[in-house]
Symmetry: C2
Subunit: 204 residues, 2 copies
């Protein structure tokens, strides 16, 4: 029976394999994978078939942008190709998910650079393992005047930010402001955020 | 950009569609769907392609067993076809997920009947909407001596259990025991469970 491993029959081998594959997705475990698969089988025409087809299409076409590391279907992603985006500003993010988050904010109209991770002594991630050399090369090639660091406010994220800033003398390096998030209640904020927001207070 | 809806480009249309499809799975929302899709694109060969292929295979072959309502790839599921399973006992469950849960327990070696839901006055689910007529027919056809009700311990589940018992005079109807779950700490159990376990106490 699906989800049991032993006693698998010819009949349920594919369903079992599907559950195992789904359970390996981030945010899903064996139980939610089973629920999702049953749901898909019940909604065969409306969901299972479209999902299988869309997955196959994405698998055949999705690739990393050679310039910035974003995901698209061409050698260069649509942001790098776009003539509507401003040159001269590059926003540096850890991951494609962060790029998408920045885009949802719609505040930034320049270009991006996806590092593919952060420096980490513990995990032995050095500058060569990230797309940092490519970033340094782009600064010269594209005549970039400002680098906006949108890296996570973690130790590794901030180490990476400092490292990148050191590699780019002569370029204006900024980073996202730290402070109280929209709708944030002081009582629920951690001490570090409150301290940072207090230190960066500004005229009202 | 994916997850934004507006501003979708040719480049990311399939990725956007994939995120929307994933977000409609139970247990996943827009954020976890984005994470899952990025994960799949990064693990193209190991996960995305196998998932697309397995989904397509399951979509082409999976169907409901005509006898019990379980999911398999033939007209009759492997449990209904099996000669190793005992006749004469049918375990009645709400859903295929419950059948799988019973099978993981490995306590029951008879046959199953999947109702496809529970009676619900609120949701206007009547006996004809479930596979109850088919169950009644099976009792006579298969010479069943015992029906084991493994229905949820909810109001609708218990209403359904009583209704089924009323439909089957002359058949032994049992139901799963209620009590303290394995590893359960009394302090964390609801009052109803403790009361049920106390009433059903037995010689030690």
């Amino acid at each position: 029976m699906p989800g049991r491993g032993a006693g698998m029959s010819e009949d349920t081998r594919d369903i079992e394999a599907l559950i195992d594959l789904m359970a390996r997705l981030p945010g899903l475990g064996p139980r939610s994978a089973r629920r999702a698969v049953l749901h898909l089988i019940k909604k065969r025409r409306q969901q299972l078939i479209p999902l299988a087809e869309t997955l196959a299409r994405v698998g055949a076409t999705a690739r990393e942008c050679v310039t910035c590391g974003n995901i698209g279907t061409a050698d260069q992603c649509d942001i790098c190709r776009s003539e509507k985006r401003a040159n001269g500003q590059i926003c540096v993010v850890e991951d494609v998910a962060d790029l998408w988050a920045m885009e949802r904010g719609q505040a930034f109209r320049g270009r991006y650079h996806v590092l593919g991770g952060t420096l980490s002594a513990l995990d032995a991630v050095g500058p060569e393992d990230l797309r940092i050399p490519q970033l340094v090369a782009r600064i010269a090639d594209e005549g970039v005047g400002e680098i906006i660091l949108a890296l996570p406010a973690t130790v590794d994220g901030q180490t990476t930010a400092h490292y990148i800033a050191d590699q780019l003398p002569g370029v204006t390096v900024t980073s996202l402001a730290q402070g109280v998030p929209m709708g944030g209640e002081l009582d629920y904020l951690d001490d570090g955020t409150i301290t940072a927001a207090f230190k960066a207070r500004r005229a009202f």
